[in-house]
Subunit: 224 residues, 2 copies
Amino acid sequence: MKLELQIKMNPSLFLRDPEQSELGKNIIKHSIQLIHNNGFEAFTFKKLAESIGTTEAGVYRYFENKHKLLVYIISWYWGWIQFQLNYQTNNIKDPTVKLKKVITLLSTNVEDDITTGHVDESKLHQILIAEGSKAYLTNHVGKDNKQQFFKPYKDLCNAIGEIILEYNPKYKYPHSLASTIIEMAHLQNFFMNHLPSLTDFSKSKDEKEIIKYLEDLVFNTIRI
Amino acid sequence: MKLELQIKMNPSLFLRDPEQSELGKNIIKHSIQLIHNNGFEAFTFKKLAESIGTTEAGVYRYFENKHKLLVYIISWYWGWIQFQLNYQTNNIKDPTVKLKKVITLLSTNVEDDITTGHVDESKLHQILIAEGSKAYLTNHVGKDNKQQFFKPYKDLCNAIGEIILEYNPKYKYPHSLASTIIEMAHLQNFFMNHLPSLTDFSKSKDEKEIIKYLEDLVFNTIRI
DNA sequence: TATTTATGATAGTAATACTATTATTTAAAA
DNA sequence: TTTTAAATAATAGTATTACTATCATAAATA
């Protein structure tokens, strides 16, 4: 028996469910490749279609536009992180251990062999670092938010907030700290690699340094 | 005598110095208006030209493309913040007071009457919140960085790092904490207004809450 | 006054972000 | 097994964007 992780996606994100066909899966797979290689700005449906061996119109039957496709793969990523978090913290009681797992999970580029079918989680992680905030930094955030496009992110933020409160029930900013952890796990990584003088990890360029920084930040902030 | 603040800009950012002509000043002024109103994605040189009453070609004589124009106004903003920081912390010795000034400066939407000539700092602040990270989240960060496009940001980050070290000379991550303060002052504001469940300020929607959050974060982190 | 320099007006191109149409293949239902 | 529906491929077309190029004119300067 083969278990496959299925992440439930918001149907407003697509016109036709990409999980349900080979072409759909190829759209996701090649999108991740292309966005990872050339960035979201340079990514077009025409290039995507060429890369798959289909036509532009073919892609448009699945996704209305490239922004929704980006939000789709980002949502998928947050769903996957949420699953990993639940899985890894299952049966663990100590919130310290849980928080450390969260920080490591968000900061680490999973070099996973068991890539989930057509999705390369490692590349996705790097896409999130470089393009993640473009999902919401638009002038249509409000609309997108009403359509629940950011629910997976919010759910994750809530889950992390819960763990923070387990650690210190009196801490006043669990959600803000959670979103700070998430965003900084990515941004400090981006800075480390592209604008190193904005960080203190320039020499090693090692994710472990980011983890140490965040652990120091979080546990000093929430300690009782 | 009229004193006017002149912020020295990196000449690689423009083809013709916008400070040196009426048209140039109008380009900056109307860019800020348009980007503020419709976001950077919807901003085009054609719309800008129409808004000024010139032609597209006219704008292209000043800026190579809209990305460089964005980097220009963002650089201007960081230069201005740097000036404000130096001015406001001048003669102050206590690093606690200085850090609080930094946090307030970065988190507050200056409703300034004395807007610096053609630049509306309040709108610029909001542009930074929504578009600031787009200056560096590109696949040509490396190139841009080599041309010193991000120097004003780095200088500010360094200056804040210095104050952090004055407070606690043994703190290990002054630059990372500085960039965290800068980015979070903006991002928590964006979240507060557009994705409130990612923060703990949803009820009040008050910048002062962000300041409190950041002060709590920073001083708990760096305390000796 | 001559001449450089900035601007205005207009045109044109390649690429992007789509929409529409029709033919063909594949898969599901009758 | 045939009919029918659904998905895909192939092609074409449009409006907008992101530019580049040209030439005339106005303003500043030598």
